[in-house]
Subunit: 486 residues, 2 copies
């Protein structure tokens, strides 16, 4: 009883404090600062710097797969550009996998109604993982098409063993069209991530996964896939939606055999870098607000919306502050993360390297869902921050970005900081077309709408500059640590 | 003067006849026939036969490039299916080119901002023509990007000679979205057809043409391209819209060199066939109404909307008449044309083989713009037919296909009949998405909407059955003969 009483008292006290804070919020920003934020907002909407940076990263440097010469060139380029702006630039080493895509092709070699002497091409792309190659001459086996993990698990092992499993989970386009693209993607991408292990468990000799993301242009969607060292490392590839459906229809008519050639290689890790560039704070140089995107990309396209856009709007934050002579009170740290795609290596390395300095990380922002029109700000961590940030949202409302939403979707690279309690943020982006393109050959510069990119730069720059002088500390809340982070 | 007088008199007489025909039209169809047409229309909307045929042609047989084993298998398959329905089937020989796609790839090997040791992939697909290969090791040269024929022609020869011309004519998406897809396509495809000769004239060593048709999924659009025996036969390929834009942007910054490998072969002609299947007329078996689509396709996709759909709705016309025990008075002739894509060889061969019998060709229908919702009927030839066909349009209006429009867009294979004076027809199809897919790897079964395919079958079947018993001869008008047909 006494204990319960104490607990209740504690709760009431907390509630009172909270209500008081709501009722009489200290003005977090002076009217002069709010005027600067409006000025910065307008400046971002008129600045083409981010687009030019995205163009250089994608057109001139090209795909930036972690470990590649292009990724190395991109590190040098971004570092040099940020030095040009007068920032204090450090390259922090990150050991990254060096995965190299090899030959990749597939064909149906036996199927119902086949014309003698012919095959049907199946468009495949290898998924990145450990030991993911077929023999050089390829693997040929019957396919078994399933729609879900449950369907596969329910099959007797002898119906799967020795065969090639085809996961035909459909991306929920209605969901994506209605604004829930990330949720739709999450449902589909589970098969890319875990399908290999699930198929290996049942004795399959290879696995093909229908491409995650809406796809109706015969484009495969690459990405990483998992493995279980206790199971055989079977070859895994993504197939296009069209080809997954074709295989499902043909397999319903009779036996279908497929020939698959994948020759990717995972070479020994190489050292790459997170690019860290500080615009030193005038009052609290030791406290940092991170503004970031990831510099690496997949290799099929040129990584424009995933994620040259995110790096470019981060770089523009620094460029705008310099151009407008706005001096932040806390340090604004631009970060171009390395090897997000192949396993968040840059984000994890940073959290480890700065583990003793987490308390000085006031906030972290990442942009990694493309360049679509931003509706506002995703606020990770404690919901109390929503109320605090309303004046910032009011500034952003002028470009249609006035929404504040509590959300954990604040970018993969800053998850390690988020679980350490650092408040995290990202623009709420319109992702209705994002999943059509990212991880495919069509993720190219033309997918970035220059005006919408400027809108994103406006959100990120305004938010970063608003966080830099806040007197109140943002409420910190550490969510449970993910298994993969332990 | 007397001559002019005579001419005016003739015109007045014609006008009078025309007005009389409009004022008191003879009832072209009995109420019983109109009832049959309504029944047929409803039957088509409930029949899945065409879809099943399109599925077999695309899924089971696959791409059907003229001269290929798949094209031969498709001829046998369609002939057998139509024999099953009780039709009188003939295979009429057509000598067709045997063009075989080889290896095809390209990369930018020098360009501004290039990371040392890297290249950028350019997605290419060879265009079909005579002598269209590079040497096996490829061709490397600087590119010169132009937006139009005029821009190229205005250049001094020395700025083009020895280089690779890139035509970057943009497909007019606004035009296509507003319903003028064929006109937009016509503007763009001129570069695919004539770009090779235009570039060769200026001394280019190869030509790349931005893919005709809207394209934002890094999909190249194949097709045939011309050649001039008096000029060098330079290699020609289509590039994706994305890659054309990339090259335009980089070339604006400095010299760009491209390495191109194309190894297509044009083997000696082979004999293929038009499939001709007659449902004999009860009163005028010698008079025919052709109902058709083309059986061949390009090789990148499986030729679903171009043009398994057209063949399938033609086959369904026969199937429905049989199923509903409707006996046409004139012969309904189902035709699956061969080698439309590589040069309308089937259509030209048919016109030649039946040159002495043109007068007995009462009408010809072709479906070759996909499987989109039909809005009515394109009426080729004399506009007087529009008035005559109103009762048929009234029947079709029940499925939203009640429009009658005078148009020459009635299908390529029946152009040789049209210029010989045969009245031609096609469904007016919604082509807003057609040009996204046709001639690309994404022209696959899933692009056919089953309901819309049934609507097309309804238009074609009703029109064909309505033409079969007409007492009045349709007005015949022979347009000028195209140069390529002479």
């Amino acid at each position: 009883m006494p204990k319960l009483h104490l607990l209740l008292l504690g709760m009431l006290t907390f509630a009172t404090v909270f209500v008081t804070a709501q009722a009489k919020p200290a003005p977090a920003w002076s009217s002069e600062t709010l005027q600067q934020l409006r000025h910065l907002h307008q400046g971002a909407l008129e600045d083409n710097y981010a687009y030019q940076q995205a163009a250089h990263l994608t057109d001139n440097i090209g795909p930036r797969l972690a470990g590649s010469p292009q990724a190395a060139a991109a590190v040098e380029y971004v570092a040099a550009e940020l030095r040009k702006l007068g920032l204090d630039v450090t390259l922090e080493p990150v050991s990254v996998p060096n995965w190299i895509r090899g030959e990749e092709h597939a064909a149906l070699v036996n199927y119902p109604g086949q014309a003698p002497g012919t095959q049907q091409k199946i468009v495949v792309t290898a998924l990145a993982s450990v030991n993911n190659a077929t023999p050089a001459e390829g693997t040929t086996a019957e396919i078994v098409v399933v729609n879900s993990f449950d369907e596969l698990a329910a099959m007797p092992r002898e119906k799967v063993a020795g065969k090639i499993v085809v996961f035909n989970e459909r991306f929920d386009r209605q969901m994506a069209a209605a604004g829930f693209g990330l949720a739709a993607y999450g449902q589909a991408v589970a098969y890319r991530e875990d399908g290999r292990v699930a198929a290996a468990k049942q004795g399959a000799v290879a696995v093909l996964v229908r491409s995650a993301g809406r796809a109706e242009f015969r484009l495969p969607h690459t990405g990483e896939t998992g493995y279980d060292p206790k199971l055989p490392s079977i070859p895994a590839a993504a197939v296009t939606a069209e080809d997954a459906e074709l295989m499902a229809r043909l397999a319903a008519q009779g036996p279908v055999r497929l020939h698959l050639v994948l020759t990717p290689k995972l070479l020994p890790n190489v050292v790459s870098y997170n690019v860290i560039a500080d615009l030193k704070g005038s009052e609290h140089p030791e406290q940092v607000v991170i503004v970031s995107g990831h510099l690496d990309s997949w290799d099929l396209g040129t990584g424009a919306i995933d994620d040259a856009a995110g790096v470019a709007v981060s770089m523009e934050t620094a460029e705008l502050l310099k151009q407008l002579h706005l001096q932040p009170k806390r340090t604004i740290r631009i970060v171009a993360w390395m090897a997000e795609e192949t396993g968040i290596f840059g984000g994890k390395a940073y959290a480890k390297q700065h583990a003793n300095d987490v308390a000085n990380h006031f906030a972290a922002i990442e942009t990694d869902l493309g360049a679509g029109h931003p509706l506002g700000i995703n606020v990770g961590g404690d919901e109390a921050a929503l109320g605090l940030l309303q004046p910032v949202a009011n500034v952003l409302a002028a470009s249609g970005a006035g929404v504040l939403r509590s959300s954990d979707e604040t970018g993969a690279d800053i998850i390690p900081l988020r679980v350490a309690g650092v408040p995290t943020f990202s623009p709420i982006q319109d992702v209705r077309s994002y999943f059509d393109y990212h991880h495919t050959a069509a993720d190219t510069l033309d997918k970035i709408n220059a005006r919408e990119l400027r809108e994103n730069a406006a959100v990120v720059a305004v938010l970063a500059y608003a966080l830099a002088p806040m007197d109140a500390k943002l409420p910190r809340k550490a969510p449970p640590v993910h298994e993969w982070l332990k």
